[in-house]
């Protein structure tokens, strides 16, 4: 029951849907400790992705689809999240390679590569109150689920659940990267918008796998 192109495109479609649905929520999180554009940025990006998705050739691999997301986000999102998430998808595509089907180990490798890409570009550490605080718990949970012999869907569910907890756990933190870092103590009590959106994207991956 490995994951192929259908899962990948389902994931992308579901991502676009949840980003649109949570656009205002993400804007409001960003208004509180940033500049109020995060929901708009991602919505613009995933809308552009959706417009290109049907151009994928019928024999496209998961890697092809992820690369399409990467280049589209990089060229339409802007801001901090555009290059960061773009790089994540780009590295994920690299990890997926030319495979048609991804097993549990490949899924974990994909998530790990994505997270490493964000760190490579943004240099954030855990606890800096960024999207990394969703991604790193997700990667760890996915690895643990793989080690425990779980299915791909279960691995992604574990990742999403950990990301959600990670996003919530950004609330008490002081930020050390991104715009929220200018706020010092005043960022405390607010959830990081990028961590929140990343948890939504990972939940979308899990939901797409459930259907698969």
């Amino acid at each position: 029951m490995s994951l192929g192109i259908t899962w990948t495109t389902d994931w992308i479609r579901e991502s676009a849907r949840v980003v649109a649905e949570h656009r205002v929520e993400l804007i409001n999180l960003d208004r509180a400790i940033g500049d109020g554009d995060h929901g708009e940025n991602l919505d613009r990006g995933y809308t552009a992705v959706m417009a290109k998705l049907d151009d994928l050739p019928p024999d496209a691999t998961p890697g092809d689809a992820l690369k399409l997301v990467a280049t589209t986000l990089i060229s339409t999102v802007g801001g901090a999240s555009g290059p960061l998430l773009g790089t994540a998808y780009l590295k994920a595509a690299g990890a997926a390679g030319a495979e048609k089907e991804l097993d549990g180990a490949a899924v974990v490798a994909l998530l790990t590569a994505a997270r490493d890409g964000i760190v490579l570009r943004g240099k954030a550490e855990s606890g800096d109150k960024t999207m990394i605080d969703a991604w790193t718990p997700a990667v760890d949970a996915a690895a643990a689920a793989l080690a425990a012999g779980k299915t791909e869907a279960e691995i992604l569910d574990a990742a999403a659940t950990a990301a959600e907890a990670g996003a919530v756990a950004t609330e008490p933190l002081v930020a050390r990267k991104g715009r929220a870092s200018y706020l010092g103590e005043r960022a405390i009590g607010h959830r990081d918008p990028g961590a929140q959106s990343s948890s939504l994207l990972l939940r979308a991956a899990a939901d797409a796998a459930k259907g698969a």
């Binding site: 208004r31 940033g34 500049d35 109020g36 802007g78 801001g79 715009r179 200018y182």
Partner: protein, 333 residues
């Protein structure tokens, strides 16, 4: 939200089209990807200067495109860094064979997107140098943050580096003088009211009727502290204090003083601010030899101001005085 706009989605596009129509003598505009270039770009043999960033800070950066200043400006969505594509396209469009300087305000998004564009331009054989502007002293501890923000001091960097490029300095020299300006300029701002980003439709933050935000960022990012409204002179003291301590500025220094409006501030208020800022500097034996008062780096309709002080030497003064002909800054021609 009350704005003279049509659709929030088209704000940047339509404003740039209006800019193109109004200033066709100075600039040409590429619409896809979107950037504003000097009419006569590329100027052969001259270092090209490209800046850019989120829209909503006008006249920065488009208003500073022209003779003696920027070769191109790349506007992102409102308060959102542009993506690498238009930065790359602008870089190619203004490369006159002597390389291109990217002037980037220090925000994660701007830094990352310009970085990608510079890599791609380099792959295409264009030599790119990048100067990161980070003049905002409101952000205290740069070790544990994304670093200081780039704010109104950017105008001085663009003006002076532009003059250096115009007189024929090579890329290394232009980059060096831009770094020198950045090293010698300090800024701090205050907001009396928030601004409303068109696509958000809500104020960027809330301020009570008697509150102001000291150390505001130019994207409506909350600042250093929120205090009760005070007389202008006291507010000026709060802004100038950290600025003067930071370099530090000393008695005998010659400086350029900029009092910048955040977009919604009446000019009478800016001059009231200027008056006291000049007094404080005079009292400390610091001589103001050049002045700018007006809207240069704004945050949409935000009411407030920022004060920038740039330490001048003969070289910087000469470059500052050199002719400039842009939509928002013009002298000498």
């Amino acid at each position: 939200m009350k704005k003279l706009i049509n659709d929030p989605k088209n704000v940047v596009e339509e404003a740039v089209a209006g800019f193109e129509a109004a200033h066709g003598d100075l600039v040409t505009v590429s619409h896809d990807p979107i950037f504003i270039a000097r009419k006569d770009a590329p100027v052969s043999g001259k270092v090209g200067l490209v800046s850019g960033g989120g829209s909503g800070h006008e006249p920065l950066h488009g208003g500073f495109v022209g003779y003696g200043m920027l070769d191109a400006a790349v506007p992102g969505a409102v308060f959102t860094s542009p993506t690498p594509d238009p930065i790359l396209a602008a870089t190619k469009a203004v490369d006159g064979g002597a390389g291109v300087l990217h002037i980037v305000k220090n925000y994660t998004g701007d830094v990352l997107n310009f970085e990608t564009a510079a890599d791609l331009a380099g792959a295409d054989g264009i030599e790119v140098r990048t100067v990161i502007v980070d003049d905002d002293v409101a952000v205290k501890d740069s070790l544990y943050t994304a670093g200081r923000r780039g704010v109104a001091g950017t105008v001085f960097v663009e003006k002076i580096a532009g003059a250096a490029a115009e007189r024929g300095d090579d890329l290394a020299a232009v980059a060096d003088v831009a770094e020198k300006v950045n090293a010698n300029v300090r800024t701090m701002g205050v907001a009396l009211t928030p601004c409303v980003v068109p696509h958000a439709g809500e104020p960027s933050f809330e301020l009570a009727d008697d509150e102001i935000e000291i150390g505001i960022g130019i994207h409506g990012e909350p600042g250093r502290e929120r205090i009760k409204l005070e007389p202008a002179d006291k507010i000026v003291d709060r802004l100038l204090g950290p600025i003067l301590e930071d370099l530090p500025f000393a008695s005998g220094d010659k400086v350029a003083l900029m009092v910048n409006g955040m977009g919604g501030t009446p000019q009478v208020e800016l001059y009231i601010v200027y008056r006291h800022a000049a007094q404080v500097l005079a009292d400390k034996g610091i001589e103001v030899t050049r002045s700018l008062v007006g809207n240069f780096v704004t945050s949409l309709e935000m009411q407030g101001t920022s004060i920038s002080v740039l330490k001048l030497d003969d070289e910087l003064t000469e470059l500052y005085d050199a002719p400039v002909q842009t939509a928002a800054l013009r002298w000498g021609r």
